[in-house]
Symmetry: C2
Subunit: 409 residues, 2 copies
């Protein structure tokens, strides 16, 4: 059961001028489900991407990086679910390139204008015959209002499609930011991949797009974790079609740039949090906020130590205020000169620990009350400096084990 997450209302997902989406059933792993998605971008669109840090990155990730770097002008994205095309060596690269070439031929593009994405099981051969046979149907389906079917077509163990959209006014014109995501995590993801695709019709200097994407990723997908595994295929792409008709945004520090930045980050955070809310087996949505670190880096270490601890996560699942496990995780986060006698711990508004020990006024009943909520904020104060970091995670339940033990069956 996802935590406070609903299937998006299709009417809330605004079309982005210059982006059309099509889906098809290629039978890649299972029959009778949408498993192939194509995004077609109008000429003149700009595209930025960030990808997994995993050294065993998948073949499609390698091809995406090449095609982005080629400067050919990306005009199409092709996404398959059911097979990650990772751990597949030189043959996997050939298959990713073949998919791009076939789509390029069908759409009158050059292969380097296509970016490929795959998600699913690792170390199995990508069935390109089926994918390539399915491409004409996906192309025939291309429409600007197909964001929700696209979100459905990229799902793996997701129980709900994930999509979000915002509109804002820039120079008297309506600008749209819409995106979809699947999986769980960017730097710390789940299963076989997190994918995120966002598009805006804002008119923005292409040189600003990669920086905007990276800032949005750092504020969203890079702050979530389900189980700490970093996938081979994680990819997050931001498309700008430049069709909204307002004056070009030349700086993200301008009023228009700040407004667009805020909308892009808001959509990215909604998409990223949706992944955690639908985390494998999740029953609780946990915000971990670490304050007073000497640097962002040490706040992140502490936040991830808490968010990754199986002991902390099972305690949340059980609604058991066994909160010493959180202090334990703070202690092994790797801050060599941490002084445990300075640490405060809050659970929502409840002051649990002070100066490294149980707060004299802390009552188990107060901890118990917060632990029973479906949304909980853990707040740790390090008292070492002024840095603050927030990450989002979920609990570890029986269903996590079931889902991942049975994934291929």
């Amino acid at each position: 059961m996802p935590v406070n997450l609903l299937s998006p209302d299709p009417a809330s997902l605004h079309a982005v001028a210059g982006v059309r989406l099509g889906v098809a059933r290629a039978g890649i792993r299972k029959p009778n489900r949408d498993d192939l998605v194509v995004l077609a971008l109008a000429q003149g669109s700009s595209v930025a991407g960030v990808f997994t840090t995993n050294r065993f990155c998948a073949a499609p990730v390698q091809v995406c990086r090449e095609h982005l770097a080629s400067g050919a002008g990306i005009r199409a994205l092709v996404v398959n679910t059911g097979n990650a095309n990772a751990g597949t060596g030189a043959d996997g690269l050939l298959r990713a390139r073949s998919t791009c070439a076939t789509l390029a031929t069908l759409m009158g593009l050059s292969p380097t204008q296509v970016m490929p994405f795959s998600t699913g099981v690792i170390m199995e051969t990508l069935p390109i015959e089926r994918i390539e046979a399915g491409l004409p149907a996906a192309i025939a389906d291309l429409q600007s209002d197909r964001w929700l079917p696209a979100a459905q077509g990229i799902m793996t163990t997701d129980t709900l499609p994930k999509a979000a959209s915002r509109q804002l006014q820039i120079g008297g014109r309506t600008v749209t930011v819409t995106g979809v995501s699947k999986g769980a995590g960017m730097i710390r993801p789940n299963m076989a991949t997190m994918l995120g695709f966002m598009a805006t019709d804002a008119v923005i200097a292409p040189s600003l797009l990669q920086g905007l994407l990276r800032e949005a990723a750092d504020a969203s997908f890079n702050r979530i974790t389900i189980d700490g595994d970093t996938s081979t295929n994680d990819s997050f792409v931001l498309i700008a079609t430049h069709q909204a008709g307002h004056a070009v945004i030349e700086s993200l520090a301008s009023a228009e740039g700040l407004a667009l930045r805020e909308a892009v980050i808001a959509v990215a955070q909604q998409l990223a949090q949706a992944i955690v809310r639908d985390g494998e087996g999740a029953t609780k949505f946990i915000t971990v906020r670490v304050e007073g670190g000497a640097s962002d880096e040490e706040c992140s270490r502490v936040a991830y130590a808490i968010a990754h601890s199986p002991l902390v996560k099972t305690a949340f699942f059980a609604s058991d205020p066994n909160l010493g496990r959180i202090l334990c995780a703070v202690g092994y986060a790797g801050i060599a000169d941490l002084d445990q006698n300075l640490i405060d711990l809050f659970l929502d508004d409840v002051h649990v620990a002070r100066q490294g020990g149980r707060h004299p006024d802390y009552l188990e009943a107060d901890g118990q009350r917060v632990m029973q909520q479906s949304e909980i904020t853990v707040r740790v104060l390090l008292h070492r400096g002024h840095a603050v970091t927030t990450v989002w995670t979920c609990d570890l339940s029986h269903d996590y084990v079931s889902i991942n033990a049975d994934y291929r069956s």
Copy 2:
């Protein structure tokens, strides 16, 4: 169900001249179970200890370090289960010191000659009234043949007591090495603590003892992991009573030194592996061996990335040869210049991946056959150098979640 682990045969646990053990029921957390253990050491014994790297280390760990450093000559160890006395601030330190003082008075020692150890729930007040009331019964119980009851008296979520013993001949004398352990892990432990206590009557220069202990820890408790959590209380102690009557061992590189070293490491490895075999919810015992690294450190990173991955561990639980998850873990282990095209992966004798992709001769049926075993070796070849590291771990099962969700109830 522990994996290929039986309760030790009491007859196999040889007494160590100069060490007596006593147990008592103090009712620390639950009634009617042994939860208090005292070890009494003959005058002239030497003691070495290694402790958790967790910065939130428990009060007894802090007191152990102080008392070892004081040079007073350790004559007694006191161990309680049911409460970790961690995350308890200044009050916790007072309570650990009080336990030492009471035992010292009862045994005619000074408080700094006593080392305290606690394991159990974190951030709860240590009930010293009950502990101190139980000490006379533990002292009355002191005998040299009580190693198995001592192993039982330090258990928490352990399902079986853990003890091991070896004898060897040095200079015509029989030398004994005997130890007990509980919990799961030293640098990467489980629950609320790994504890290990080993003793030998070998006559060894006291200056050699700490080095021997550290070497044994690095070859045993520092190579195991259940869930990656590093406890606040982990402690491993090696006692030498010097009563075996042979000529003093002045060098670990001598024939006698090497023989003793081998026996100490063998007992430590058996105790450490017993912890993994009895890991919370474990159904499989997994050896992860990483070869061909440029350094031990990078081999360890890769080995622990595999051994900690919830996805890898659930695949072992399911006997599902979803082995791409292992390659994925290799990729995110943090070796910045790793070339995925060099990697080999073996599962026991089965060559699964070569040059970063599925081996052309690999058959799913072969992987499936090995995955169904209760003992499995994962072998990764990095082809970067000559370093080799082995770690031991277990799978991640439904029972792990159940045990840790319900731990305090």
